[in-house]
């Protein structure tokens, strides 16, 4: 992927506003007595690329579940943009508000073609009646074509998505997120199962998206994190253990003890 492909996509997304795009305030979630999130507070700035790391069970995925409405917090607030209270919205409403999520395991519509996957994800009126009478405009086709090029799947547009390689599925899912034109992208282990080359291209893509989009990346691949990281948050036992630039976090003795040292 070349950097010059990107401005077009950036223009399609929302131009970043100044200030905080996502604010988690004292979020706690318990499952059967187990505290998955414990008074977690976190702020993501508009246009920021934030990496979240931490050992298994630290609450990374639960945090994404709270942001996307899948899990309701027992306590705390999750505010998106100026004043959108995420804890009151459904998954679909949160998606429409401008939050896109990539799952840990690539989740795409396997029996549909790559093209159709992107078509369904595309920002549009997603009510029942609208989809019954929906026609694909030329403009929409161009948008899909641009995304296909961006994610390197232009040759596979007519292929059934289930037949793609693991890395390609990851890319398709990222492409689907971009079709939604979100303000904030939540990416749960986006490079798992990718080849080194694919990982490198993903890093380039994320870096280029930052600025026009806000990104929260959860990843275990430290080389990948180092390639893209500006500010890193380390979660441990459901709350923030350390936060700061990669260099600083890497040398934090507490972080080394619970996570990096292993």
């Amino acid at each position: 992927m070349k950097a010059k492909d990107l401005p077009e996509l950036a223009a399609a997304g929302t131009v970043a506003e100044q200030g905080v795009v996502l604010y988690l305030d004292g979020i706690s979630v318990s499952f059967d007595g187990f505290r998955a999130l414990n008074n977690l507070s976190l702020a993501i700035d508009a246009g920021e690329l934030r990496c979240v790391i931490g050992p298994n069970g630290a609450g990374k995925t639960t945090m994404m579940d709270v942001i996307t409405g899948k899990t309701r917090p027992d306590e705390g607030r999750a505010v998106f943009g100026q004043s959108t209270d995420l804890t009151r919205l459904s998954e679909a409403e949160i998606a429409h508000a401008g939050i896109g999520r990539k799952f840990q395991k690539p989740t795409i519509f396997e029996p549909l073609t790559v093209f159709e996957n992107l078509e369904l994800a595309m920002k549009a009126d997603k009510k029942v009646r609208a989809t019954l009478f929906s026609k694909l405009s030329g403009e929409a086709r161009d948008k899909i074509a641009a995304t296909l090029t961006l994610i390197g799947l232009q040759e596979s547009a007519g292929r059934v998505a289930g037949l793609l390689s693991h890395g390609q599925k990851q890319w398709l899912e990222i492409g689907m997120l971009l079709m939604q034109e979100p303000k904030l992208l939540l990416l749960d282990e986006p490079v798992a199962g990718m080849s080194d080359h694919e990982t490198e291209r993903t890093a380039e893509l994320f870096v280029s998206l930052a600025g026009t989009h806000s990104l929260v990346v959860v990843e275990h691949d430290m080389a990948f994190i180092e390639a893209i990281a500006r500010k890193v948050t380390v979660l441990h036992e459901g709350s923030v253990l350390a936060e700061g630039p990669m260099e600083q976090v890497k040398n934090d003795p507490r972080v080394v003890e619970v996570y990096l040292g292993r």
Binding site: A95, F103, P111, S134
Partner: protein
């Protein structure tokens, strides 16, 4: 741009099928609207080419089942919701039409009363409120559509909103149809108890047993089946249909894409129930009886077997399955009545084990 050419979204009628599909449909229509009527009404009974009333009624009945199979395939094959209560919607449509047919009997019943016979027998003096306006055909049509539709809408809304899925949904639909059956068995419910409705005389003033009326019912059923097929085809090839497939295979992803999946499920479930109701309404005048046994849980399971046998997720497969299983059932219940349930079980096991995509899947592989 070859890959894109295939991806034209189907929106107008002519695109629904290719030339071959339309040709097959045309031949079916020709048989239903021209050949069968000629062979039944014009060719004399002595001729070997004569199609008797028995076969016309059997074919009409199976076409009603095919509409039900299409309806279930929409929710099960395309949206992944296995309803095992579709027999209820079918029966409700049948009861809606049955009430009108009972009123059409007029004073020709055994007791020569304005009230249906079973009410005289129960010593009722007037029609209960459920029977209001049932002597009007348009009201019957309204009941046939609205009663199953409303029930499915309300039931579906609460079930899908509570995220009841998979086998749990199947079980509560079984419970629903079972509960309705018990309700309809009661005389107090006002629908003839376990005897249901029968002994119909007329429909829209025409003698219900005359060959011409039978043929008209057959033709209307064929027309409805074709219309249902085209409607279903239009739905599954629309973006709505692709959203259904998306919900079936990755519901969380569909939700995070911004689709309110509850609305989609309720919409397709309600439409499916209405189609079943219409099929039931066409079934009752042809078969001449409706009673609560149509709501038995086993009946609804059988509908799922038709779809599985024909090929889930294929509309032609659903019709084929309804035809094959009911054809076999007609044969067995005449030739070897005590073995039919064993045969049905065997068919289901063979299909499940060796034909995951049904008979149509096997045919298409070749």
């Amino acid at each position: 741009m070859t890959p894109k050419a295939k991806l034209v979204t189907v929106t107008n009628l002519t695109n629904l099928y290719g030339p071959r599909g339309w040709a097959i449909l045309g031949v079916c229509a020709l048989v239903a609207f021209l050949i069968v009527p000629i062979l039944n009404l014009i060719v004399p009974a002595s001729s070997p080419f004569h199609v008797s009333a028995f076969w016309v009624t059997l074919a009409g009945k199976i076409m009603c089942y095919a509409i039900v199979a299409l309806a279930l395939d929409l929710v099960w094959g395309y949206a992944g919701i296995l309803s095992l209560g579709h027999g209820l919607f079918f029966a409700l449509g049948g009861y809606g039409m049955g009430m009108y047919l009972m009123r059409q009997i007029g004073r020709q019943g055994q007791y020569q009363s304005d009230l249906p016979d079973f009410m005289v027998f129960l010593d009722w003096k007037e029609l209960p409120w459920q029977w209001w306006n049932t002597d009007q055909f348009w009201w019957a049509v309204l009941l046939v559509i609205l009663v199953p539709g409303l029930l499915a809408f309300v039931f579906g809304y609460f079930a899908f909103r509570s995220r009841v899925k998979g086998v749990y949904f199947s079980i509560i639909t079984q419970a629903l149809t079972f509960a309705a059956m018990l309700l309809f068995f009661r005389n107090n419910t006002g629908f003839g108890g376990n005897n249901g409705f029968t002994d119909f005389k007329r429909i829209l003033g025409f003698n219900i047993t005359s060959p011409e009326t039978r043929m008209a019912l057959f033709a209307v059923t064929a027309l409805t089946l074709i219309a249902t097929l085209l409607l279903a085809r239009w739905i599954v090839t629309s973006k709505f249909g692709r959203v259904l497939a998306a919900i079936r295979d990755a519901e969380p992803r569909a939700m995070f894409c911004g689709y309110n999946t509850v609305h989609y499920k309720v919409a397709v479930f309600t439409l499916s129930a209405v189609l079943c109701g219409i099929a039931g309404a066409l079934y009752v005048p042809q078969v001449g009886i409706i009673n609560p046994s149509e709501m038995s849980p086993a009946n609804s399971i059988e509908i799922a077997i038709w779809v599985a046998v024909g090929g889930r997720g294929s509309l032609a497969g659903a019709i084929l399955g309804a035809g094959l299983v009911n054809g076999a059932k007609s044969f067995f219940t005449v030739a070897l009545p005590e073995y039919w349930l064993f045969a049905l079980g065997a068919i289901f096991i063979v299909v499940t084990l060796f034909m995951p995509r049904g008979v149509l899947g096997v045919l298409q592989r070749k």
